[in-house]
Every structure is written in C-alpha cells, then in structure tokens.
C-alpha cells in the first residue's frame, strides 16, 4: 500500500544538468548536443527543399508559442514534443501540447473558413466558428490526444516515421467546442451510415499531395466526447493545433483528430485514401521486426493501456531520510484504469500506487507513490498499468512496421545520496 503524501514529507529532487539542451531564445532552433554527420550533400549542389508557400506559418513562429521543453523532431513536416518529466500537470498546458503536422501549418481566416457537413445527411450544412458558437451547446472536456507513433523510438529496430521519444507525443489538454454528435444530428444522419470522414484544409509542398483525411466508425463520431473544437484550455485554439476549427476524437490515434477541418462526410463505408489504406495501419497479427506491412492489417483506432512516470525526472538526486514522490499518468482509450503498480527492483516485486479519480472519460489519471529509500545508491522505478478489461501494459510492445501504439513500460532512474 502506498503511504499518504504531504507536502513536507516528500522530496522533489534535483535534476541533473547532464544532457542539457539549449534552445536559441526566440529562434526556436535546437542546438544539437551530439555530433551530426558532415553536411556533404549541400556542398555538391544537391537540391534544397523549396521555401514555404504563402499562407504558411514558419516553424520558428509556431515554436515561439511553445515551451522550451518541447524538442523538435522534424522540421518538415513540423513535429515536436516534451518528454514525461515535463508532463506532470493534470491538464497539459497549451504551450506543452505536442505538435504533429502532416503538411504545412496553414493560417485560415476565422470568418471564411467553413466546415461542410455532407454525405449521408438529410441536409448539408456549411458552418464557420461563429455558426458553431451560436447554434450549438458549448462543451468542454479533458481528453487524451496521442500520435499513433508516440514512443516510436522505444521499438527495436526503430521503424520509419517521426522519432517520437519513448514518452513524447501525448497530451491531455481541455478542449472547448461543440459535440460532433449535435452537429451530425442537426444535419440528420441517414440510414446506411457507417463511417464519418474528416478532411483538413491544410496543404503540402506540391499540388498533387493529397489532403489529410481519416474516417472513424459512426459510433465513435456520435460518442458524446467527440467534438468539433475551437478552443484549448479555455483559451483560443492555436493555429498549430488546427484553428479556426478541428476535430477531436478522444483517446484515438491523433490522426483521426483532423486539424483545420474543412469537410465532415458521412459515408456508407470506411474512407479510402492514403491516410486510411497505407498509413496509420497495424498488422492484425504480430510480424517479425523489419517486415513489410502485411495485407492482413487494420486502420488504427483507440490507444491501448499506457502509463508514464512524470516524477522523478531522469537522473534526479535525493537526500536519504525522506520519502521520494513517484508520480505519473495512466490512460486507455475505451476502458477504465483498474490499477497502476510500481516496482523498485526491476519488476521482481510490485506495489500498488495511489490512483486519483479520472477527471473526464478520456482524460489520463494521475498516480502517486511515496517511496522510502532503503539506503544510498541508484534506484530505478518501473510503472505498469492494467485496465478494467484486464489488459496489462507489456514490458516491450510487439514490433509493427509503422511503429504504432508503443506502450512498453516506462523506467526512470534516480540517485539517493547519503
């Protein structure tokens, strides 16, 4: 059993300065800590990527609105995340919500940017933000958004795609907007409807690049926490997160939560297209590492059970004699958290952590445990969550060709000084 924690009895710990990464103030450029390979190709006159077209917000402007804890993983398309030690908040602050574009960060006018509701509906609708605010009940919910590839570098070998750190690429902000189901009911969903497709208005570097488009089953679109969003954490929705309007499909692989949404189409079958049929797919059965995507595969849906340790920070140091606070979050898309256990002996024995109440159906849950050091030395902590269906986090997630759904155990090391 865990002990009761009070402010005086636990230690925060100091964070090691080793591995310090500095960001050039305001410029958003990350100074590499490791030595990169020599830059051969430019010297040979190899082509450079074309400049950003008009209407695109440059990366440094996007990152100026983000906390220095966010590390850029790729510049085109822009992806960035903060790792577990910066994600202790119950509600992820807007400036720490991860960034994942497929195409450019595109700026649209709030008055003229419309979302069309079409397909198998009784009446088509065309709505801008003002229409949504005026005609539908405003709702807010805390909910997980997590890239399908979050934690990808946990796999061995590392599959292709954005190199999300083992604990980067997930956030739990509060979303402000309207229920997607309210909008679909107003349009009137016809019989025969099976899936609902979302298409973004953002664009890529070439005119031939297809739009970002994903579909979800009708039941998920009609679930009361699925939303059309125009605000984040009771403030404006930043452009990088899809302003003026985006979709939010809670707990599911983030690609379903299409940003800059321009079309919501009710369909009699799952959408066809690259974001359904070649990306965001998982083999139905495990495959040997390094395999191609097998034909027997399915589109990504809800995230399986997962947890991260937000405290202590990696390599923190503590003084002997006081308990050390171990804390973190656990979440799962379509179930509840049954328990979170922690181990201080590499998994030989496990103790139940204290689990706080869930703030919302699709929010993560915070866990905590007061650890009493037995003596000085280096300590590791593992966290392991189990959901209400009895699904427990694996030690290591089975490999899959696109590196999705990493939910292997998070392990953090810290030092107790005499």
């Amino acid at each position: 059993m865990s002990e009761t924690i009070n402010d005086q009895s636990v230690q925060e710990g100091r964070v090691s300065r080793r591995g310090f990464i500095a960001r050039v103030a305001g410029a958003g450029a990350v100074v590499a800590s490791g030595a990169g390979l020599p830059e051969f190709a430019l010297a040979q006159g190899a082509p450079k990527p074309p400049a950003d077209p008009a209407g695109v917000i440059p990366n440094d402007q996007v990152m100026a609105g983000k906390d220095a804890a966010l590390k850029i993983h790729s510049e085109r398309p822009l992806t960035a995340s903060a790792t577990a030690e910066y994600l202790a908040d119950d509600i992820t602050p807007t400036n720490r919500v991860f960034v994942r574009n497929n195409l450019f960060t595109t700026q649209f006018d709030e008055a003229t940017h419309m979302v069309e509701i079409k397909g198998l509906v009784d009446k088509q609708l065309k709505l801008n933000v003002a229409d949504l605010r005026k005609n539908f009940q405003p709702v807010s919910t805390m909910a997980m958004i997590e890239c399908a590839g979050a934690g990808r570098t946990g796999f061995n070998p590392v599959p292709r795609g954005t190199p999300w750190p083992p604990t980067g690429g997930m956030s739990c902000p509060k979303w402000n907007g309207v229920r997607l189901s309210d909008v679909l009911r107003t349009a009137g969903v016809k019989s025969g409807a099976v899936h609902v497709a979302f298409t973004g208005a953002d664009f890529g570097a070439l005119p031939t690049i297809p739009k970002v488009a994903r579909s979800v089953p009708l039941w998920k679109a009609m679930e009361e926490h699925s939303m059309i969003v125009y605000g984040m954490n009771d403030g404006p929705l930043p452009v990088i997160h899809g302003a003026p309007i985006r979709v939010m499909i809670p707990g599911w692989a983030g690609s379903a939560s299409v940003k800059w949404v321009a079309s919501i189409e009710v369909l009699d079958a799952p959408l066809k297209g690259p974001y359904m049929d070649s990306s965001y797919r998982m083999p139905k059965h495990p495959v040997p590492p390094g395999s191609k995507m097998p034909a027997d595969a399915a589109s990504t849906e809800g995230w399986p059970i997962k947890s991260i340790i937000t405290n202590p920070a990696p390599n923190a140091t503590f003084k002997q004699g006081k308990p050390v606070l171990v804390a973190g979050h656990a979440w799962v898309a379509e179930a509840d958290i049954d328990r979170v256990e922690v181990s201080f002996d590499e998994g030989r024995t496990w103790q139940n952590a204290q689990l706080n109440a869930k703030a919302a159906k699709y929010a993560w849950q915070t866990f905590s445990y007061a650890y009493n050091p037995r003596g000085p030395g280096y300590v590791t902590v593992l966290a392991r969550a189990t959901d209400s269906n009895g699904n427990m986090q694996p030690i290591v997630t089975p490999w899959n060709p696109l590196g999705y759904y990493w939910n292997g155990l998070h392990r953090v090391g810290f030092t107790v000084e005499a």
Partner: protein, 203 residues
C-alpha cells in the same frame, strides 16, 4: 488538492534545468542528431529531389531500414503524392537501401564514388533551390510537362517569354491539364528571365 499543487510546483521548478537525458534501457536508445543532408553516393541528387520536397532529409538520415521496408516506404510515399517516374523508383530504392540499410553498412567514404563537382551552373541552381525539378524533367512529363515540351509549345510565339514568366510567378492550370502549377511569387525578375531563357532553349 495538495498533491496536485505539489506536482505543479515541481513541474515549474524543473523548467530551470532542462534535462534531455532519458533512461530507457527497455527501449531502443535515441540516435544522435541526424544529418540534414543525405550521404553522397550514386543517385543522391535524384533521391534528394524526389524526397526532400515534402519532408526534410532527417526522415531518411536517422533511419536504418531493411530493403523491403524501403521498397514499402516508397510505395506509401507515392500514395502521399511523391513525384517520381516509374523508372526512377528502383534507383531511389537502390540508393536508400545502400546508404541507409539496417543490415548492411554503407560503403565507406573512401570507397564512395567521387563526388560531383559543386554545380556552379546558375540555371541548375535555380531549378534545384526552387524545387522546379520536383515536378518537371527535361525530356518527359512528371507531374508537370517536360521542359522540352514547354519549349516546343511556345516556339515561335513572340510573347512566349512574358507568358512563361507570368505562368511561373502566378501559377495556374488548364494549359497542360487539371493539376495546378503553384505560384512562385518570391522569384525576382532576373531569376525568372534566366529560367525562361533556358527553358526556351530546350528543344
């Protein structure tokens, strides 16, 4: 709730020192910062021209994939709008599977074929840096028409250079099909003149 306050204070405090060190022995280690340019070798220019339009080169330089995965990946990229002619696919796969292969180390720098001399040709530089060659080849249609085809169509029209300058700057569609040519409004008059002059010579 007290714990929540405590956690919030902890998070704010940790802002002062930023640690990038991650302990993940259960997981593969993160690689060092990847290069922003591809390794020199046969068809590096073609690979760069076809890939480093929609995404930066680090998506390749940090990857070590099997040949099967590279083949698979090119097919996925084609569905995502990659501009590539069928005969170029094996060349790009060969480059990637030679220099970014999980199972076979790349040829050492000394064994690599001599690097091409830096291109001083101003036209080639313009075509490269503005990504014209992502969509246009000299002798065949890619996404847009080949440069020779363009030269032939505009041959003998007195205002052809002005028309082409406008086309490049403003973009448009309809002349060669429905796929639009994006506008390139950042290009200066001098550069446009050089480009159009060169295109009109490709007969």
């Amino acid at each position: 709730m007290r714990l929540r306050h405590w956690l919030a204070a902890g998070a704010a405090g940790s802002l002062l020192t930023i640690s990038a060190a991650t302990i993940a022995p259960l997981a593969a280690q993160e690689q060092v910062e990847p290069s922003k340019n591809l390794m020199p070798g046969k068809d590096v220019e073609l690979t760069t021209a076809r890939c480093v339009i929609c995404h930066d080169a680090t998506h390749i330089t940090r990857s070590r994939l099997s040949r099967a995965e590279w083949e698979d990946n090119i097919q996925v990229m084609i569905t995502r709008g990659m501009p590539i002619a069928p005969n170029e696919i094996p060349l790009v796969v060969e480059y990637l599977a030679t220099y970014y292969n999980r199972d076979v180390a790349p040829p050492s720098a000394g064994a690599a074929p001599a690097a091409a001399a830096p291109s001083e040709d101003p036209v080639q530089k313009l075509l490269s840096t503005n990504a014209c060659i992502a969509c246009h080849a000299v002798d065949r249609k890619l996404i847009g028409p080949g440069f020779r085809e363009i030269a032939r169509r505009y041959q003998g029209q007195g205002d052809a250079p002005d028309q082409l300058v406008k086309k490049i700057r403003e973009g448009g569609s309809g002349v060669w099909g429905a796929t639009p040519m994006p506008p390139h409004r950042h290009l200066g008059d001098a550069d446009l003149k050089v480009m159009v002059g060169w295109i009109m010579q490709q007969k």
